[in-house]
């Protein structure tokens, strides 16, 4: 039996097409994926992302512990800063990608993928031994909304009573509403300006109702995936896995090798120094057809990798994909074939940003 978020009944009442995702019964779409995708690109859309997990890390060694398990560098960060990065295995494979919120001195909130909550929490508890710090899984407490799109900012104060205009990209603030302290951050997973709000189930349900009443388009996981894909953002399970390191995923900028230590540092340093066998690239098809996850990629008559995510891009109409392929073929404009329904479809390696991001920095 899949878990339900605190908004499950509202999705069902809206007639959402529900699918299992990450152990939860989640909305894939309400109207259709393209309509919801376009709402976020050009107006604003509302997502239930309450399935995401939250782990609070506190204690005298909290910062030292986060530095130990996290690839990005949070040392001495100001309160209100957010960092994107990964937790790695010693061999450089990715346990998960996550956001780290600096809540205070030796106080962090780690936001992790729904499907990985149990695995990640076990990983944290295993690695926290010897640190004077506590990791508390608060995933059941928090609901989370994502309000995404160029018109998101204009809704925050009038509809939700949250004054977020001064927040810059990848920062947050805590706001007290009706006696409850909620978290509002300028973050998202769509390539557009927008916010994510964390609070109790009661707060999240009330905020959802207000936004829907204000006419905001509810958006499902279908367009969440097309939106993140178009701007080249990875999804754990596709572009990052236990076997795919951030170096292979072309996400080295979030791996701070100048930190004194973290789990997986040596493996990443070695991959950077000696090179990697496979790398995540973009491919744009010249022929017709839609590349999908798992389809083989070939060149010069042999298989060189597979598609990690692919779509006919709703924003551009182009058939594009991200793929994990042999580095020998990873240079821009290298001709490769994607095998679609048994036929070779010609494509060229391209940047994995198929659509320009519009963040408010």
């Amino acid at each position: 039996m899949d878990k339900q978020t605190c908004l499950h009944d509202k999705h069902v009442a809206l007639g959402a097409n529900m699918v299992p995702f990450g152990g939860f019964d989640m909305p894939l779409y309400y109207q259709d994926i393209t309509t919801e995708h376009n709402a976020v690109r050009h107006e604003v859309g509302l997502f239930d992302v309450s399935h995401m997990g939250e782990v609070r890390v506190t204690g005298p060694d909290a910062e030292r512990f986060v530095q130990h398990i996290f690839t990005n560098d949070v040392a001495g960060a100001e309160y209100g800063k957010i960092f994107y990065g990964m937790m790695l295995r010693p061999d450089g494979g990715t346990v998960d990608d996550l956001l780290v919120y600096k809540m205070g001195e030796n106080d962090f909130l780690l936001v992790i993928n729904a499907a990985n909550i149990d695995k990640d929490y076990a990983w944290m508890l295993e690695n926290i031994k010897g640190y004077d710090a506590v990791a508390d899984n608060q995933s059941e407490h928090y609901g989370q909304l994502a309000i995404q799109g160029p018109k998101a900012e204009a809704l925050m104060l009038p509809v939700l009573g949250l004054d977020c205009a001064e927040l810059v990209f990848y920062t947050f603030k805590e706001i007290t509403v009706d006696g409850e302290t909620i978290i509002a951050s300028r973050t998202g997973y769509t390539g557009e300006d927008g916010f994510e709000v964390y609070g109790s189930h009661q707060f999240i349900r009330s905020a959802w109702d207000k936004l829907i009443a204000a006419g905001v388009q509810p958006c499902g996981l279908g367009c969440r995936d097309t939106l993140r894909f178009e701007v080249g953002l990875p999804l754990y399970g596709d572009e990052l896995t236990d076997e795919i390191s951030p170096v292979m995923a072309a996400l080295s900028m979030f791996v701070k090798l100048d930190k004194p230590e973290f789990i997986g540092k040596e493996a990443c340093a070695q991959q950077k120094a000696e090179g990697i066998a496979k790398k995540v690239v973009g491919i744009e098809l010249q022929d017709k057809g839609i590349p999908r996850h798992g389809y083989p990629v070939c060149a010069e008559g042999h298989e060189i990798g597979y598609v990690t995510t692919g779509y006919k891009s709703p924003s551009t109409g182009k058939s594009v994909c991200m793929a994990l392929i042999d580095v020998a073929y990873s240079k821009l404009d290298t001709p490769v074939d994607v095998m679609i329904h048994g036929k070779a479809r010609r494509g060229l390696v391209c940047k994995k940003r198929f659509y320009q991001k519009s963040y408010k920095k």
Binding site: N17, D32, H37, S319, H341
Partner: protein
Amino acid sequence: MAKVIEGLYYAESHEYVKVEGDFGYVGITDYAQGQLGNVVYVDMPEEGDEVSAGEEFGAVESVKAASDLISPVSGEVVEVNAALEDEPELINKDAFENWIIKVRLSDMAELDNLMDAAAYQASCE
């Protein structure tokens, strides 16, 4: 409520055949297009290709997924519906009007294995 049309032959995998003389027009049913959602691409065979009853001959694709097309009949593809190359969404507008391939039927007896409109409608409920 999905539409069905009398006089067509229907497969369990939600394709239909409209028979005219020696030819069959093969497409997906109204029920199938409704389940699939907005069609963004139709992967079609080429004219001159052979299709076999029960075997895949292409795919109809929504944003999220590709759904195999299974031919209800055997024969040579004499025409593909070229309009679907630029406007795949025609299938959502009228799935019965917008057939996908026209086949020169090689075995009329195969039609006996398919359902009539009433049986197909019952199978969708």
